[in-house]
Symmetry: C2
Amino acid sequence: MRKIGMQEIEDIALGAALLGAGGGGDPYVGKLIAHGAIKECGEVTLLSVDEVPDDAFVVPIAMMGAPTVLAEKAIGGEEYKRLRDMVSQFYNREIFAFMPIEAGGVNSMLPFAAAARLGTPLVDADGMGRAFPELQMVTFTMAGVSATPMALTDEKGNSVIFRTITNKWTEEMARSVTMSCGGAVSVSLYCTDGRIVRQYGVRDIITRSEGLGRAIRTVRQGAGTPEENFLAAAEGIKLFRGKIADVQREVRGAFNFGKVILEGIGEYKGHAAYAEFQNENLLAAVDGAILATTPDLICIVDSETFTPVPTDALKYGKRVLMLGLKCFEAWRSPAGLELVGPRYFGCDTDYIPVEERAKGGVL
Amino acid sequence: MRKIGMQEIEDIALGAALLGAGGGGDPYVGKLIAHGAIKECGEVTLLSVDEVPDDAFVVPIAMMGAPTVLAEKAIGGEEYKRLRDMVSQFYNREIFAFMPIEAGGVNSMLPFAAAARLGTPLVDADGMGRAFPELQMVTFTMAGVSATPMALTDEKGNSVIFRTITNKWTEEMARSVTMSCGGAVSVSLYCTDGRIVRQYGVRDIITRSEGLGRAIRTVRQGAGTPEENFLAAAEGIKLFRGKIADVQREVRGAFNFGKVILEGIGEYKGHAAYAEFQNENLLAAVDGAILATTPDLICIVDSETFTPVPTDALKYGKRVLMLGLKCFEAWRSPAGLELVGPRYFGCDTDYIPVEERAKGGVL
């Protein structure tokens, strides 16, 4: 158990944005919301999964929708109070702690805002270890945990409780409500017991985010070059360094689809790369060879500051470093790949771990 | 209090389809579902609104979606059980009786199926006195009654509870879920007290439907010509008699939009008419002059049998009689016209009661 205050939030937001793998929203927006809540209501109590009793009721808090819309909508304290009341009333159980469901600039932060405002502790675990675009894409789905009963509320005060036969149906139905509510809503789903979180959740993800954020902040203090320090701290596999030559975007449904094209710089001069995304980066290729695919994390960061660049902030001319991170081990199982492997997203390739694909590198 | 069996259902379905004003679904489908339930589980107890205690909990049962889809989906008994359990659990109240929310071939019948299968009485009232395409279009909206908490379930077993800030938002959100569930779902909404039903509901609507159905069935037994007998029993204003020359259709969202063009026959030879619809008929014009608009009922029936022809069964060459019926009085108030008047539906005309518009007639 430890307290999370303003500086920790700063680092967690930054590190979580890296784990967002291009998605999960703008960490600046997320940080502002968490900071505002902590300033007003006090620090948040963070619990390790081992401090959560087996039968304790743990409730994830997240936003659902397109990251580009998140930044344009106000997120007040009322939504969390409403979610809490809906969930505790519908389940007829008292909430022991909140939890993030995915890592990312916004969805790692909102649970802090909820925890601060309602005086509820937060568990140091999530259901992805990164960000993914659809709500059935959590480790809990592999464990047979239902996403529902799920609570959804918008900033206007509308609220919905879903109970569905599969988590894919939850996605389908909640997505359509998200669209009709303007593209971004607050949700609680995969409400479950401490025992399940400990067994299937991605543990210590907040602490890992914090470490990554701290490493980015102090990247010039290490033994090697900043890039070496960054890659070492992130346990990242370097994929490419280049200048953004083009970004193709399309909003379809509640998703941001697109592709970013990079022209090599420095040691990559004369080479070319691209990454495809659906909210998050899905596939990275250099000189036509695929070097990484989902569920491994494909992260694009500023080549000087190592600040993560979300897919909706990719801009022509920006110089970036593209790296791969190994995903949470369970995603590499057949069940995991069925949920979040490249073929699910329409990429015509089998999954091969990033550390194998990128072994040779381009240079 | 009286019992409703197979013959009564036959007449109610037929009469309700007339009150559906072109919408409300195919009475044949509705009748089959109600007959099946009554055959299996016994007759239904119908209560007059005066037999419902003030504080009794009355729960409407309906389908939401495009009438053309209704006919293609199976409707089982499980949906009603699920709706009952959702509503009674969420409100924590015991259900005293079910109620239809609109008149129409399907939505007048489904409450009978639910009542038969669950052994629950049915109240002889609804919230429209006809059919309308959107769910906020009920007399209860004028009374400030909320459509929510509203329960929705599909035939697969998915279920949703909505709680919205306005009935228009209920429509918006429930409609998008209806679409994602394949276009037709079962719902309970405007769950309310006996006192409210008595004060704002359209009373005796089932009995009126039954009388209309019986009149159509026995149209050749009266004093005048069948047409005279029919118009007298329906208190209908004759608008046109013609052959369907064209039907334009478009499915947009979960609605059937379109226009039917009629060429005059008999005394109307040489004249032309049309009706525009959105599930239900919205506007009828003869030789370019508008003779009736929503919220008055524009009904199209077979010119020989006087069987109602729903908008999704309009077919080239069919000979029909078009008539107007006065709507429930409350719809003619400013609040009523704001909800269901011609301008709401995009018809560029003020509301003038059908008995005034059609006074001169075309002949």
